[in-house]
Symmetry: C2
Subunit: 456 residues, 2 copies
């Protein structure tokens, strides 16, 4: 194995690992990619495990930087807003943004990962190995122990970028060897992935260009469109409950599943004839927030993506954040030696990772509950109006996160808090947007929100 | 008005004119854009006049060259294949390409034109005037006569690019002044644009990611998806008929329209409650093929887009071809004086314009009739198989036109003829793809189709 000055080993051939591979290899760096699972291109992930994703501006920007944007576009289905489904089957459409380009995209995890692996594999200085699980890391010796089937071998690395996901073996060893720790907050809610089949003739049975939400207070169902007319549907629900309210623990057989959906999601149930059997076969996923005090050993190894900062999926930012990691790390590696670049990366990036972790948790409350409150729609409408009037100061937080990659997550989070305060004050006694004094609003904004250009 | 060395007047603020404006203005050229109609940004086209379009690789490539691709992506709905509807309401899906990226996109004419006008208007060296109809051109004096409301004024131009569409006033004067002529073939079929409304909740009532075709032999109905859940539906039908077969002349009132749709498109009719009234209000469009012997006066004026070469819409290439005109002309203008560049443009581009004009006419037969023949599906399947086996020699003609901007239309047309001959020979005695001897196929291809790399 080459021990020259520019040889990087990337652990994990998922979304972050394969994009990182492309970015480095395009600059002439020798990259060796190691993936635990089989090659996704011949063995796509099967149903039940986050089969589609929402791609937003940050992720798209990273793909542009990597020169992959045009290749990805054919995989994208635009979603221009949320379609809220109430318990009686009534729906309400709420646009995500107020400008035509402010849409997010549904994209297949398999399709996107395959595309990235294909592009990576075509680069001459990339080598890849699959079915190779990392079981040990020795940072001092710069060695990885890999298990392939029943054989374990030790291979050297020079510089290690670990994109090995929530279960990151590298993170565990990194924390151990540096006597550091990470918090791992398991959400008391799990998820179950289901399929809403196409109607006759590849027809979407719900609006194809929206993200569907069935908010039910303590839990919710969502659906994202696929190009073949199906939707990937995900139920988010507590694992357990003490008070008799719905939980996964109560959904243990065919009739309990059907009863639950009949009661809370009758319109979705009517479109999902195989719901109960799929429900009982598919795993119940767990959702963690990982906050690690260390992402690097300040020498030869660094964590990116979920390995560094797993977040819950409710802002649709896990992949977007991981892709942003890739381009930020790559930009630093262009200018500095590996140890210095990774130390700086961890320091610069962590406040942003922490911010999106918090916002993702908050967004769960918004999606499953707040969207149902009368003030939600008024505040959305007011947000758009304030953005029109004061575009250099007030941008709705959802828009800052989803449509403005130039605004770091941490800044979106901080400004979002101020904006929420302003919105709450302005709407506290208002029933409609006409009740709001825009002169007062403008004064509040000018006093509390510095011009964006001055803080970026 | 500036008469400096780089001042171009563009007549026509539609798709071609506004893209041409952007390309030139980005290079520092002063551009004055003149449009007959009101500003489309405040006065969008209303229903009945080609409200959406299919954007394919050639058009996308031109938008990339102009730096507009990323701005356009949010407007695009991918269509991965044709959905064929038979008279009994059965459907069959036939993919356009065999690779995941081989899709075409439905895009709103209003949305795309507005976007181009917005980008053009933001460039400092662009001026625009609307509601200004060109009624005369004097090439010797370099003057245009413009009518605004009731006033006619004469304005000078230095270099004139006419993107004034099928009815081009500049073409008429150009042909007159050069004693040249153009053929104008009116298709004996007209078109009628209709709306298939969204279902409840912005839901598409047909597959959202397909182009729908109801082929009926002598006529057809098609539908393209919009992001709001509606479809734009177009009926193509002869104006008249002598033998009692369906024609526009027989569809003159509510009941004749409903009877016609009940007989031939009952599934579409069921989804279009306002069909008859819309049908009677909307204009019946005409389709022309213009072949002009001159596109330029070899001095100070040139035609692009429909003004030079209006084609019928059945290959979805009118806009794509016009955008390709823009980047080809711009590339030549970068290197040569206007007179020389436009003369060369006309000479190089005309064979390609003629080829797509013919292919568009041929594709009408394919769409309205051939798709129903049993050999059509076998030949499609065989085409894809031959492309897999011989990718540097055999690419289905549809794919060459739609997915390969590097292959000029004229070459796609010529190779397409050879390929059709090969497909006919190979399938003449075959019922399925297994009946076909691939060794013989390979030999035929190698003998008759030179490697693509060697002809481009």
């Amino acid at each position: 194995m080459n021990r020259g000055s520019s040889h990087v080993t990337i652990l994990g051939g998922g979304l972050a690992g394969s994009l990182m591979t492309i970015l480095l290899a395009r600059r002439g760096i020798l990259v060796h990619l190691i993936e635990r699972r089989a090659d996704l291109r011949s063995h796509p992930l099967s149903g039940g495990r986050s089969i589609n994703l929402a791609l937003a501006d940050r992720g798209l920007h990273a793909l542009k930087v990597a020169g992959l944007y045009e290749a990805v576009v054919p995989l994208l289905i635009p979603m221009s807003g949320r379609m809220l489904h109430d318990i009686d089957g009534n729906t309400q459409y709420v646009a995500y943004g107020q400008r035509e380009h402010e849409v997010i995209y549904s994209v297949s995890r398999n399709g996107l990962t395959q595309l990235l692996l294909n592009h990576a594999s075509r680069l001459p200085n990339v080598s890849m190995q699959f079915d190779s699980e990392c079981v040990d890391v020795n940072f001092e010796q710069r060695e990885l122990s890999l298990t392939q089937h029943t054989t374990t071998s030790v291979i050297p690395y020079q510089q290690l970028i670990a994109a090995d996901g929530y279960h990151s073996v590298v993170r565990q060893h990194l924390l151990q060897s540096t006597h550091s720790d990470a918090s791992d907050d398991l959400l008391p809610h799990g998820y179950k992935e289901l399929t809403l089949p196409a109607g006759s003739n590849r027809q979407h049975q719900l609006a194809a260009n929206a993200l569907h939400i069935w908010p039910r207070g303590g839990f919710m169902l969502i659906a994202l469109p696929n190009i073949d007319g199906t939707f990937t549907v995900t139920l988010f629900l507590p694992f357990d409950s003490n008070d008799g309210s719905p939980s996964f623990s109560r959904l243990h057989d065919h009739s309990s599943v059907i009863d639950f959906f009949s009661e809370f999601f009758p319109d979705a149930l009517a479109l999902m004839p195989n719901l109960a059997s799929e429900f009982l076969i598919h795993p119940t996923g767990k959702m963690h927030t990982i906050r690690s005090t260390r992402w690097t050993n300040d020498s030869n190894a660094v964590l990116i993506g979920d390995a560094a900062h797993a977040i819950v999926p409710f802002h649709g930012q896990g992949m977007n954040c991981a892709f942003e990691d890739c381009i930020e790390l790559d930009a630093l590696l262009k200018q500095r030696p590996f140890a210095e670049a990774t130390t700086l990366f961890a320091r610069q990036r962590k406040p942003n990772a922490d911010a999106i972790a918090d916002m993702a948790l908050e967004n769960y409350i918004e999606m499953r509950d707040t969207v149902r409150h009368p003030k939600f729609l008024l505040q959305k409408e007011l947000s758009f109006e304030l953005e029109r009037r004061f575009p250099d100061r007030f941008i709705p937080r959802y828009s800052m996160v989803m449509f403005h990659h130039a605004i770091p997550y941490a800044i979106a989070y901080e400004r979002g808090k101020i904006q929420t305060q302003i919105l709450d004050e302005l709407t506290s006694h208002a029933n409609g947007i006409d009740d709001i004094d825009m002169a007062i609003a403008g004064k509040m904004i000018e006093e509390r929100l510095p011009k964006l250009a001055s803080v970026l």
